[in-house]
């Protein structure tokens, strides 16, 4: 059974076709890299997979279950998590509260108007563990607004990992990071166990190629090349469209 399967996905904004018949099969535990120029439809593909954009035609399957019509929140409960290209955190809250909110999203406790959130020790412990995993436990009580860009990127990943997803979509996790921070985040992503399937969009080929097992090249909303790392890098179309001759 595939972890994530996309069949004939189509999406248009008015007369502009942004995704045209995309097919994608990602095996359990795979590390898949999605590459393509700006405007190739990479983030749109993620938005279609998570349900944040509605699909014109096609299907999305998560571990064999057709989730095409499932709302975004339901997909999160089924094990699909993502990070955002543009950091999307809760700026007035602490790092701990950000990760706690992520954990709470999958807990029935989120409907409780009587309990005290900061006394839910099991959630606090799990949130601290997730922050520790990304090396930010010492900043747990600091508001997001007082952290660096690199730390925020890591909080994004901590929030996604805290939900213990089966499939994790990472949208340009290295964007805006220094060389040193990129190394840290790469090591962090490399440490994610194999029971989590990862699909990542990334422009930085140096770090991305180190991560990828299979690569999909998108161009104007269509899959142009797909294969192993070596196959895609050597493919003439990749050089023509993406890497440059």
């Amino acid at each position: 059974m595939t972890a994530l399967e996309v069949r004939g996905l189509n999406k248009s904004f008015g007369g502009l076709r942004v995704t045209g018949g995309v097919n994608l099969i990602v095996e359990p535990g795979e590390r898949r890299l999605i590459i393509g120029q700006n405007g190739a439809g990479k983030t749109t593909l993620f938005n279609l997979i998570t349900g944040e954009l509605s699909i014109d035609a096609g299907q999305v399957l998560l571990f064999g279950s057709n989730i095409t019509r499932a709302p975004t929140r339901r997909r999160a409960h089924m094990g699909l998590a993502r990070t955002y290209q543009i950091i999307t955190l809760f700026p007035g809250e602490t790092l701990l509260r950000n990760v706690t909110l992520s954990l709470l999203g999958l807990s029935p406790l989120r409907w409780n108007p009587l309990a005290r959130l900061d006394r839910q020790q099991h959630l606090v412990d799990k949130a601290l563990a997730a922050l520790s995993r990304v090396g930010l436990q010492h900043l747990a009580d600091r508001p997001v607004a007082q952290t660096s860009y690199g730390e925020r990127r890591r909080v994004e990943i901590a929030m996604a990992l805290a939900q213990e997803p089966k499939v994790l979509l990472l949208d340009e996790p290295f964007a805006g990071l220094s060389v040193e921070e990129r190394g840290d985040v790469l090591r962090l992503i490399g440490s994610i166990p194999r029971d989590v399937t990862i699909v990542m969009i990334e422009h930085d080929m140096d770090v991305a190629l180190e991560f990828a097992e299979r690569i999909t090249l998108l161009h104007f909303g269509q899959v142009v090349v797909e294969g192993s790392r070596a196959e895609v890098v050597e493919h003439p179309r990749t050089k023509e469209i993406y890497l440059g001759a």
Partner: protein
């Protein structure tokens, strides 16, 4: 320190009738508490959910009119209270279903329209609401046999309800649901991706807010023993929003301070200043310019700033002689 300040504030509020003495001012204090409850209910939506509504007086009016009509048709106080709250929560549900279809300015405009429908019904459905003449009740309730006819008794009853309101708000805000609601205000898209049902979270917040609007509406009716379309109008909704914004939306104390400011300007300062609404407008402009988050968060920021200056000053004082010694030595 914070607990001591809260205890002192509660003690002052609890003893208002003892040290004010004058019935007129005790009644003003009761009005402040009624509007504080109303503003706190609006704060759930405008402050914690980020849903700025200009139709909330509609819910306040539904509660007061329902209670007034039930009382005039001879129902007992328990039926009146329960019926009024149930009707208001139901209407709040209708408001939510309709208004949550819009976002931003669209949401605001839908709430304006819904509030205006309520006002229109109060004003034009004369066979039921008595139109412009409003609904009058003859007596205040006697909960557990206690008469609320005197200004002091009514104030203490209102104060007890106010304590219940602010206590329930504090619990709500600190709860997982309260945190989720704030999350839907700050990052609704992210919240959906994290597994939250943003629409249902907001809908339930609407019902909770509707309930406390009903409580405020009931107290308003009992206080005035009269309800007219004026209480349901757009200006009443705007006034409540002004209380929330002026005091500080998304805080527990802000709407209470805002209610105090507006009620005192309207009912006390108006006796001395004929253009009191001009003064209120000027105060609001000053708040927006100098404390855009509202009086409570703005005052807290100013206090922190003053404290930080006080801490820095001794350091500068000790540094100066050190330089002088060095100069002498040279």
């Amino acid at each position: 320190m914070k607990r001591i300040a809260i205890a002192v504030a509660l003690l002052i509020l609890a003893t208002v009738p003892l040290w004010i003495g004058n019935s007129f001012y005790i009644n003003i204090a009761a009005q402040v508490l009624i509007y504080a409850i109303f503003a706190l209910s609006l704060n759930i939506l405008a402050g914690y959910a980020g849903l700025v509504t200009l139709g909330h007086a509609g819910l306040f009016g539904v509660a007061a009119y329902t209670a007034g009509l039930l009382i005039t048709s001879g129902h007992g106080q328990l039926v009146v209270a329960l019926g009024s709250c149930a009707m208001t929560i139901a209407i709040a549900g209708v408001f939510a279903v309709l208004a949550l279809r819009g976002t931003g300015l669209g949401f605001v405009m839908i709430t304006v329209a819904l509030g205006e429908i309520c006002w229109g019904l109060a004003f034009r459905w004369i066979s039921v609401t008595n139109g412009d003449n409003g609904v009058t009740i003859n007596v205040r309730p006697h909960p557990f046999g206690f008469s609320l006819e005197s200004a002091e008794a009514f104030y203490w009853a209102t104060f007890a309800v106010f304590l219940l309101t602010i206590g329930s708000m504090a619990v709500f805000v600190a709860s997982p649901f309260g945190a989720a609601l704030r999350g839907t205000r700050d990052q609704p898209r992210r919240m959906t991706a994290l597994g939250y049902n943003v629409w249902l979270t907001r809908f339930l917040a609407f019902l909770f807010s509707g309930f406390w609007s009903a409580v405020a509406g009931l107290l308003y009716l009992y206080y005035n023993q009269f309800i007219s379309p004026e209480a349901v109008s757009l200006s009443s909704s705007a006034e409540a929003l002004l209380m929330v914004i002026a005091g500080g939306s998304g805080t527990l104390l802000g709407p209470v301070i805002g209610a105090g400011l507006v009620v005192i300007m309207k009912d006390v300062a108006s006796a001395y200043i004929s253009r009191w609404n001009f003064v209120l407008g000027a105060i609001f402009v000053l708040i927006v310019v100098f404390m855009p988050d509202g009086l409570v968060p703005g005052s807290m920021r100013a206090w922190r700033w003053l404290n930080s200056r006080r801490v820095r000053t001794p350091v500068a004082a000790t540094a100066t002689p050190a330089i002088e010694v060095a100069d002498d030595g040279a």
